[in-house]
Amino acid sequence: MGSENNLIISSRLAKNYKRNLIERMIEFGLLCSGIVAIFITLAIIYVLVSEAIPFFQHVSMKDFLTDTVWTPNYSIKHYGILPLISGTLTTTGIALIVAVPLGTITAIYLSEFASHKVREIIKPILELLVGVPTVVFGYFALMLVTPMLQKIYPDLTTFNMLGPGIVMGIMIVPYIASVAEDSMRAVPMAIREGAYAMGATRFQTAIKVVTPAAISGIVAAYILAISRAVGETMIVAIAAGQQPNFTFNPVESAATITSYIVSVALGDLEHGGIGYQSIFAAGLTLLIMTLLINILGHMVRKKYAERY
């Protein structure tokens, strides 16, 4: 009898051991998948830096940051990143001029004015707008928006920064609207009720009470929008022309950092050549820009975060 019991116990222990082993293996597998995210980040930094280092051995950092001409394909080569940055900033600026008011109004309307029913219809439409591929937006900018702008302003060239900037603005409205709306909806009802009890109207409550209370989320939404616009590629590559041009004039054509990378990738890439390395230097600049923007966003959120 005793030996039979022992047998049962030992078989249970063996089963337990097997069970624990499987558990450990699964946990290890899951851990490995979790670590992939870290590896991707490290790989991005490694690839960009290691390909950009030979570039900076060839081009001095001072030229890169101060030269106002970017002509890697001409016989006299210049590698000044400023024209690409000016293009990036101009298109981003136009996009923000369009997207910030539209996105903020949409957010305030959805959060404070719209009925539940209206919100249930509008939010999916905004999500669909987020899903539209950027290459389609690029077509839209080149074939529809620029010709329309040319009717108002006949001197506008086919490739310009205004059209793609506006379309980019439309593209980022839903980002601003949804993040800003979320933060406005997180403002407790009691604060609104307080305002109403003092006799404030809906508009006064929305502008003077809810918006200031949600300001950290709203600014975070703007910053998210900036980083989207800076990294946006296809719209500008299609509709802004791909000619680097040191200008902040929206009616001129220009290249952004991203559209330069695309235009080089479209040609024959000589692996290890200076042209090949230059896109990694440009990519590194872009990454640093978006990183700085994101850190700024993080700081703003921390500084103005309201605790209820």
Binding site: V36, I40, I44, F113, I125, E127, P133, M143, M234
Partner: protein, 314 residues
């Protein structure tokens, strides 16, 4: 004296009434403004869609789907592009979904709250904010040259998988977080191991939410252009990759992973860049197909999420 007071009261009342009605005007004005803004956004989406459909209408026929790209716009089609897109997405799906779901489960169910899980978390949210073209550069340096995978379907699939990964991770985590603790406690109480709890309960209940994230991620991958161009895939492709399914044993082969390819958005971009109008018609038709696919998928995801929210009451 009393009369005077009454009159001044009335006057005050009128002033107040006037002030209220003045302020109420702003309410109406803002509601009107909001309606106009939202209506114009909706109209923009409609115009975008109709513009593509109307411009591309002449190409809506089966020949367009079964022809290779060609120098002559009239005979050009998107056969190689849609086959390429499907195969690339197949790779993306099989890489991003297991990795993303596993890492979401790890972060929510297994990871202890310490600096290490914080590090992973920061990385995931950072990766979601990295511009897509940077992933293209990563793929160019790493997959194409360091790993020697070339400009193949495998490279493109892996690249898009990297892009899709944060979306899958975030949606997995959100879906898991919505499951109340007592479900897990009940399972543990009857002697389930951690993995049994995850596998038989957590994943089952989070299934809908995870699926929503996967669909949204796939919809993004279909339309993603910049990273695929960056790996150098914009070439004239007038052939199909070897078929994944063969008639002879072993029936499945993986030669197609190494094949050159084109995808729908790249084909569209290629046609937009041509000066001739006839190619723009092709571009519009391709764009219409892409946008219909992405709208359908996003619509499905939204519907799915809506149903989950309605159905599940813990």
């Amino acid at each position: 004296m009393i009369k005077q007071k009454k009159a001044s009261n009335l006057k005050d009342l009128n002033v107040i009434r006037k002030m209220i009605s003045n302020h109420k005007k702003y309410d109406f004005m803002f509601a009107g403004l909001g309606t106009i803004v939202i209506a114009s956004l909706t109209i923009t989406l409609l115009v975008l869609f109709l513009d593509l459909v109307i411009d591309g209408y002449p190409k809506f026929n089966l020949d367009f789907l079964s022809n290779f790209p060609s120098r002559r716009a009239a005979r050009a089609g998107i056969l190689s592009a849609w086959v390429g897109s499907s195969l690339v997405l197949l790779v993306t799906f099989f890489v991003a979904v297991p990795l993303g779901v596993a890492s979401g489960i790890y972060l929510e169910e297994y990871a202890k709250k310490n600096w290490f899980s914080d590090l992973i978390e920061i990385n995931v949210s950072n990766l979601a904010g990295v511009p897509s073209i940077i992933y293209g550069l990563l793929a160019l340096g790493l997959f194409v040259y360091s790993f020697g995978l070339g400009q193949s379907i495998l490279t493109a699939g892996l690249t898009l998988a990297l892009l899709m990964l944060p979306i899958v991770i975030v949606s997995t985590r959100e879906a898991i977080r919505a499951i109340p603790v007592h479900i897990r406690e009940a399972a543990y109480a009857v002697g389930a191991t951690k993995w049994q709890v995850c596998h038989n309960h957590v994943i089952q209940y989070a299934y809908g939410g995870i699926l929503t994230g996967i669909i949204i991620g796939m919809a993004r991958a279909i339309g993603e252009t910049a990273p695929v161009i960056t790996i150098g895939a914009l070439t004239f492709i007038a052939f199909l990759p070897p078929s994944p399914i063969g008639l002879e044993p072993p029936f499945i082969n993986f030669d197609w992973l190494d094949a050159g390819f084109s995808v729908l958005p790249i084909q569209m971009f290629n046609w937009i860049s041509r000066p001739q109008h006839a190619f723009h018609v092709n571009a519009a038709a391709t764009g219409a197909i892409i946008i219909i696919l992405t709208l359908l998928m996003n619509g499905l995801a939204i519907k799915l999420r809506y149903n989950i929210r309605k159905k599940i009451k813990w």
